[in-house]
């Protein structure tokens, strides 16, 4: 079930320069939502900007959900100007969630930059079930971490940074690979990997991680989107396993098997 809900903004803050968090009161959507799903946000009254903005659900606590975003243009900037007590129209929850119904021993969650939010939701869900999970995050530097410094989750995360002191230096795939390298075949086949991040991360995971030996490896993708609900066919990505060479991020995804995804050629 999907809802079109006028959600009251409970709070909003800037986590890092240009990275924002907003908590919204949205009982219907919160009741239905699952980790990996997203919300299509109407960022302003009227039609300028014209389209909704698709944002992953970052957390659900009771009847409130959190959205985290980086300001990249007119729509995401507009969201920073909304005050607590105002309403925003949300369409959701949308898309297919991460697969969580398989009994395994190891759960590795790998985020790149602003790809972290859906994995936070997934991580908290696992922990809420009393299940262990390891959350990895790769960023360029401290300013790219989509969590506030006072967020208790920070201490749980294995963070790699390319150019900031205080974190392991390097790529996020390195500690992930180290953990997988310690496993034998039985361990690998008892492992699920979930990921979300820029195409560079998807490429790297496909290249260096033995994903075909894992129980499951999934990735959540992003694409420009109009309807969010499978109507316009605009958010196609090249992913195997569908009836055509393309699948829709909004309807068939955003979560896809890592091995099926064909990242665009990065130039």
């Amino acid at each position: 079930m999907k809802f079109l809900e006028d959600a009251v903004v409970h709070s909003k803050r800037e986590l890092r320069p240009g990275i924002w968090s907003m908590w919204l009161i949205s009982p219907d959507i919160c009741r239905e939502a699952q980790p990996g799903q997203f919300i299509h946000v109407k960022v302003a009254d009227g039609l300028d900007p014209l389209l909704r903005r698709p944002l992953s659900i970052s957390r659900v606590h009771g009847d409130q959900l959190e959205l985290v975003w980086r300001v990249v243009g007119q729509g995401t900037h507009r969201m920073t100007q909304v005050s607590a007590g105002e309403t925003m129209n949300l369409l959701g929850p949308l898309g297919k969630p991460f697969t969580r119904d398989v009994e395994v021993s190891n759960r590795l969650l790998v985020g790149g930059g602003l790809g972290l939010p859906p994995l936070v939701y997934l991580y908290e869900w696992f922990r809420g079930q009393g299940l262990d999970a390891t959350l990895f995050l790769g960023v360029a530097g401290r300013d790219d971490i989509p969590l506030a410094d006072d967020d208790p989750l920070l201490k749980d995360i294995v963070i790699t940074a390319e150019n900031s002191e205080g974190f392991r230096k390097g790529l996020v795939t390195e500690p992930v690979l180290e953990m997988l390298n310690e496993m034998d075949d039985d361990g690998l086949s008892d492992t699920m990997l979930y990921s979300c991040g820029p195409w560079g991360l998807v490429n790297a995971l496909q290249r260096v991680i033995p994903h075909d030996r894992l129980k499951l490896a999934q990735v959540s993708l992003e694409q420009q989107m109009a309807c969010g609900i499978g109507v316009c066919q605009g958010c196609a990505v090249k992913v195997d396993g569908g009836e055509t060479p393309y699948q829709l991020v909004c309807h068939d995804g955003p979560v896809f098997p890592l091995a099926d995804v064909h990242p665009p050629e990065l130039r």
Partner: protein, 318 residues
């Protein structure tokens, strides 16, 4: 609703009668079932499905759309499930409601249009067809049937022989004289014409010097195209006698009223549905308020009521 006795929003498109003039445009309403969780299809007078072809089409390479705010540039390439699956799985779900179910048909050659319509004739309860002869985003077929009026007339005539159902043609603004396309549609036996399809447009990333769409150019839609669409509807109103369905940037009740004034008997709402899936219900309510405040009983009285005798309006626009 007490007011329904005095405010009649019904319109007539020849043999097709709608309980209000709002039709969801092809490509913006899926197959008619996707929005059912969040909006009532019967708020609409009718809806037009995504274009159906003989075989399934995979559509164009991504990226397929980009926002050129407050407009949208798309190059979907008519991705669709094909007539067989549509007839078997979808069509039975969309017929029989208050909203008329109209199927858009888009093919590469005339014989395929005939074949698709012939197969759809077997589906009970469909209310008509919109022949999409104006898609700017496919290599074969697409706009070619519309750019040449003699092809338009022949195509409509051939489909007409296959069906007694209501038929409209969807026309492109990307031609010298859209009224020639409308006249050819009427001559071929169309019951109405739908206009306008998207304008050919382009978006470029200045930094990488790359196009923002895989096909380089695409179709431009949204609020900015409304003045172009109004002018085309007005042109066609003065050229043909069959009903006109106005399309282009419609997002509120005033837009509907304006399109009807320049000659539209009904309108299609397209891109704005992406922002507000429940927009039709709001517009119906606003149109009823408008009619009450104007003391108007029949909305259809608006069609072609543009006053050109006294020159342009006087005063400040409201």
């Amino acid at each position: 609703m007490a007011s329904s006795h005095t405010q009649d929003l019904g319109v007539s498109l020849g043999t097709l009668k709608l309980h209000n003039p709002l039709i969801a445009a092809s490509g913006c309403y899926g197959y008619g079932v996707e929005y059912s969780d969040v909006a009532d299809r019967n708020d609409l007078g009718g809806f037009i499905t995504k274009s159906i072809s003989l075989e399934p089409w995979k559509g164009n390479d991504p990226p397929r759309l980009t926002e050129v705010s407050p407009g949208l540039l798309n190059s979907i390439g008519l991705a669709n499930m094909g007539v067989q699956r549509f007839s078997d799985e979808i069509a039975p779900q969309i017929v029989g409601g208050k909203a008329k179910a109209i199927v858009s048909v888009a093919c590469k050659v005339m014989e395929e249009y005939e074949e698709v319509v012939a197969r759809l004739e077997d589906v009970e309860g469909l209310d008509g067809y919109e022949l999409n002869i104006s898609c700017p985003n496919v290599k074969e077929g697409g706009m070619a049937f519309c750019l040449n009026p003699s092809l338009t007339e022949e195509l409509v005539g051939r489909v007409r022989k296959r069906s007694s159902r209501w038929i409209t043609t969807k026309l492109t603004p990307n031609m010298t004289s859209i009224s020639e396309g409308a006249k050819a549609s009427a001559a071929g036996g169309a019951d109405a014409v739908s206009l306008i399809n998207t304008l050919v447009g382009m978006a470029v990333d200045w930094k990488s010097r790359r196009p923002k769409l895989s096909t380089i150019t695409g179709g431009y839609s949204g609020p900015p195209v409304k003045p172009v669409a109004l002018a085309k509807v007005w042109e066609v109103w003065n050229a043909v006698d069959i009903p006109i369905i106005g399309i282009g940037g419609i997002s509120n009740w005033k837009d509907v009223v304006e399109f009807m004034i320049v000659g539209a008997s009904a309108v299609q709402i397209g891109t704005a549905l992406y922002a507000d899936p429940d927009l039709p219900g709001k517009i119906v309510s606003d149109l009823e308020d408008f009619m009450r405040s104007e003391g108007m009983n029949l909305l259809s009285e608006l069609t072609g009521s543009l006053n050109t005798d006294g020159g342009a309006m006087v005063g400040v626009p409201k």
